[in-house]
Symmetry: D3
Subunit: 246 residues, 6 copies
């Protein structure tokens, strides 16, 4: 069930049976010459909804904008400051906790969100300690769909070293599967540069077309279908583990 298409009495009924919720979070940022700017949000949303269908988990609206400061030298990228993202996550968790939700699985599509998510979780814990010291604890976990071991194996099988670390053929394939009408021509060749970086200027300088060690020309919609299934499978398991936690 998606929260967006539920009514409040339906949520009330759900809460009587389960106090967990899945929250997809992505990013709106450059994904190379043929990757969609919404890639991370689209992928996280698709995986989260798949998990919802597979498990009955309630799925919150997608947080489409994340922390993408390092991609800001490419037009179209939107970023939240980490402090804003921390506040946003804190408000979302706080509001849901008010209704009785206490187990949160953030299905994440973007590595840049991880520090802010983790920071936000402890900011939430600290705020509860200050205001409701005796309230039961909240369980907040991140499931990075693109870092799951099964997804990793499949990506390695499909692309080997050409998977890279940003604008990867995996994530581009997944969006091609979701939105075949938005498959863009890949007019570049070969893998992109690799390596680390610091700020947005440095990213643009080192990775002039936005790809990082990846060859998204290898992307295929049918790969996307397999990757989606695999990701949904392993995150559904994470969901069950979260619910089963003592």
């Amino acid at each position: 069930m998606q929260l967006a298409t539920a009514t409040w009495p339906e949520v009330e009924a759900y809460l009587a049976t389960c106090t967990g919720i899945v929250v997809p979070i992505g990013s709106t940022e450059q994904h190379g010459p043929n990757g969609l700017i919404g890639t991370d949000a689209l992928c996280a949303e698709a995986v989260a909804r798949g998990v919802g269908e597979a498990t009955g988990a309630l799925v919150a609206p997608t947080l489409s904008i994340g922390m993408a400061e390092h991609h800001m030298a490419f037009p179209g990228t939107i970023t939240l400051k980490p402090s804003t993202l921390v506040a946003l996550i804190g408000d979302v968790v706080g509001a849901l906790a008010e209704h009785g939700f206490d187990r949160f699985l953030f299905v994440n599509g973007h590595g840049g969100n991880i520090p802010s998510l983790n920071a936000a979780f402890y900011e939430v814990h600290a705020a509860r300690r200050a205001t409701r010291p005796e309230a039961p604890g909240l369980r907040m976990r991140i499931a990075n769909w693109f870092l799951g071991p099964a997804v990793g194996r499949l990506a390695a099988e499909l692309y080997g070293d050409n998977e890279g670390s940003h604008a990867t053929p995996s994530e581009v394939s997944l969006t091609q599967h979701l939105l075949p009408e938005h498959i863009k021509p890949a007019t570049f060749s070969g893998p992109a540069p690799r390596g680390s970086f610091h700020d947005r200027h440095d990213v643009r300088r080192r990775f002039p077309d936005g790809r990082m060690g990846s060859d998204p020309s290898l992307s295929r919609p049918e790969h996307g279908a397999r990757l989606l299934d695999t990701a949904v499978g392993e995150i559904a398991e994470a969901w069950h583990r979260l619910l089963a936690e003592d």
Copy 2:
């Protein structure tokens, strides 16, 4: 064009011709017994995308969670504090301004967002004054689809006094048109209480099922189609006026 399904080179090309952008913003909050929790976001998104198709405007990802503190006594409602929403809007505008966007039309689906949006606009102006005093100004406008005069006339024609102020038949019709598979049975009768309120407890006390002066049992998908067309039409004009502004 939607930002989420564009590539960064496509955005670069768009910016060479137009520095305006449409940003849909909604809310995730109770909408009465048969209204979807995502109503305000779904409506704003549909209207914004319609405007994008009608005018060629670039459409940003939907900000699905707004300021809904007053609905927090109903399960499923998520709210941002006004200060968080102000920070969020500021970051989004700031990032887009970095790329050269300078005209922002927020297509809004929720009255509760209006103060925070307006506060955010001046927070942005103040920040630019502090940091880039000579930079050209940013134009930020709100288009509330549900408050447009033509939409108002159509709603009055369709529902008269039963339109009410929250969980209205207009917005429910619009979501019925968008998502016919999510039409919920309306098992109540007659209009809801009317009047003002202060906090969430008071809202729940005065409006026990979440409707405010509205009769969403009158909602019909075909009304939604007409309302959508009407809203798109009048907001497309607002877009053109914004672009034409001296």
Copy 3:
């Protein structure tokens, strides 16, 4: 009774009979060639004190500085960032609530304050939800003296279209009535430009002397006396309605 000239035992006695308070809020900003920079604060204060005298309401000290970012290209304007104003309002309400006040009527003299006031009210509600979830709700309302229907009718009668939207003859008349020794010569002629604006540069460009569609040369102290009476009358009614609210 004014809070500033009361003793704490007098406030304690007042609270035993009434838990409402009137809070005047204005702005310190340019008001055209002959309007006083303190116009909005002076007017709000005079109206609020009039309401206090008419009804026995306790009147808090005037918040003289508001959100006037858009007037910052004129010397003498002072502005708070919306976020600062939100924090200020939150602290003032929070402190008064601590003593038992729970009905707040903000008598406002400046349109630019409205978004921040409304944002602040929900910020207060959110903070109480977090820290004192069971505490009774606070009722916070804005009474914009210059937007009341009776004041509007009188301004229309006196000035017709020359009332305009900023540095209006109404508010200038009111200050002329209050401070006849500070009546300034009006050395301009005719109405000012009209229209919308975005940031301070744009305001200065479009409205070079600070008037917006208004002709404050029409101001007269005796108009101010009538406007004050009218505003006090309609806001006194708003006060009674607020106290009577269920």
Copy 4:
């Protein structure tokens, strides 16, 4: 000249001759059984206006609400959090600096404001370092009227040990001089307890009627007149020194 009763062209003219401004700041807090809640604001305002008249200094609107957390156990006290007061001062100074003001004399009526004022000054310096590193520095000074040496000598002459540290006969006398119609009966006798304190509960416990080591029954309006003159005199000198600073 008071900023509130000036027009913007008058401020523009003033700035051509002087870039200094006087800002009165007080507090809204209990002042014992017969002291006015607005004492600190009323005194600071009167002294600041006196300085303005004596020297031609421009005088900003009074910041009537300060940091009075420790008095919050007495009805009627309003306090800003230090962080709010720091933000408020920062905005006020920042706005005025925008117009060219660069010497600020805060005429202060309340000891509890001093830390926040000093913190704010460095917050302003830090913000300017970040955003306008080459801009000329701002000079911000506090003149505590009640701590001036001449005022101290006069208070000692008038009240000796009965001056105390809060709700003092000096400040009460000054308000009696300003507002003879608000002289309250003093129905207590003898000096109040002395000593330090920590939070509001502790203040109420140690100083049950709000006086701290003071005997405000000694207050007389004619003392207030002398104190006002004396304070104006020594702060006028501080103003001249500030303007003369290299």
Copy 5:
């Protein structure tokens, strides 16, 4: 060279040759029955100073208090909220950048700091983008001494599975080497529970004496000496890589 024992002219001379700096950061938190509350700070400081001696790097004062919310159910733990730690790091980096430092190696002793450090780095990048868009980028890196591969191999050799994840024999050994006068008796036996956790209550419930999968009774000062050498060696290399970065 340590910053604390240098003079400003010495720092000026250093900056003429090197714009990098090492910043130790630890935590003040429970470390099991025989581990010191300052373990993470003491270890980070010792490693950082060792790197300073080995390479000539300037070493900043140790940030001794980190993000330890999850250990707050044990007396003596001090924690910063993630948002406070982000602000702290931002100020420290910002101040040093002002002097010309542009390469920062944070030698970290506590896993709980990692999200806040990473969030802070992007907060710094975002602030520079807003205020000094053309300024050269800052390089900020974390070196977690306890996660280095060589340290990991040595810990595995010394303790195998008994290393655990908190209050580890490695870090306790290191402090025993540094402070032999503070070696505490280990009066427990066997490894502690393992597993994940959410908030402080949960940590205390699952790990009642504070050890997490570790057996710090295996700690020996001579192990500490070897671990320190190993850590210094691999972080010195990281320092050289950072300086050599293009």
Copy 6:
């Protein structure tokens, strides 16, 4: 006992006998041509530890970085914004209060920290009022070692007028006593300029080598030993008074 070298069970035992704690706080800032950048932190730490040894007080880790904005024109100075320092102090006090500490003696080595410390104390009081209105109050006091009357007498005896106000021979002597291996040559002569200042540019302009009215060439390690003893003696008394407070 130092917190850093205690275990949590030792802290638990301490709390059963005493709920007070000593927190040293310094600064990392230029101290003239031969003074150490860490002077203020080193001195505060040494005094605090001496107090701990003399009285059995628990001593927290030193907060080594303070508010030193005014020294930022000298390389090596690090500063926190006042708002960051306020947040830091608030978190430290809040965490310790959680364990039952309720009497805090901040042994301070830097005048620039005083406003932020005092602001932080009231920020803590305000936060507790909001969240735990009935909780017992916290007692937070500052002991400025360099302002104690006995220290003042000794400094006057040793240096007379050459003590000055920054980079004083007293504090330099104290660090010479603590760290004889870091005694730097004093290659200047005579006292430095005196006077007030506003921002960092002004400090550098008026005090080109960083000394303010002081002659640190008079510093001697043996003076430092006497100053340390004297400071420990008078702050130990302050500690006893704090514990004895009703």
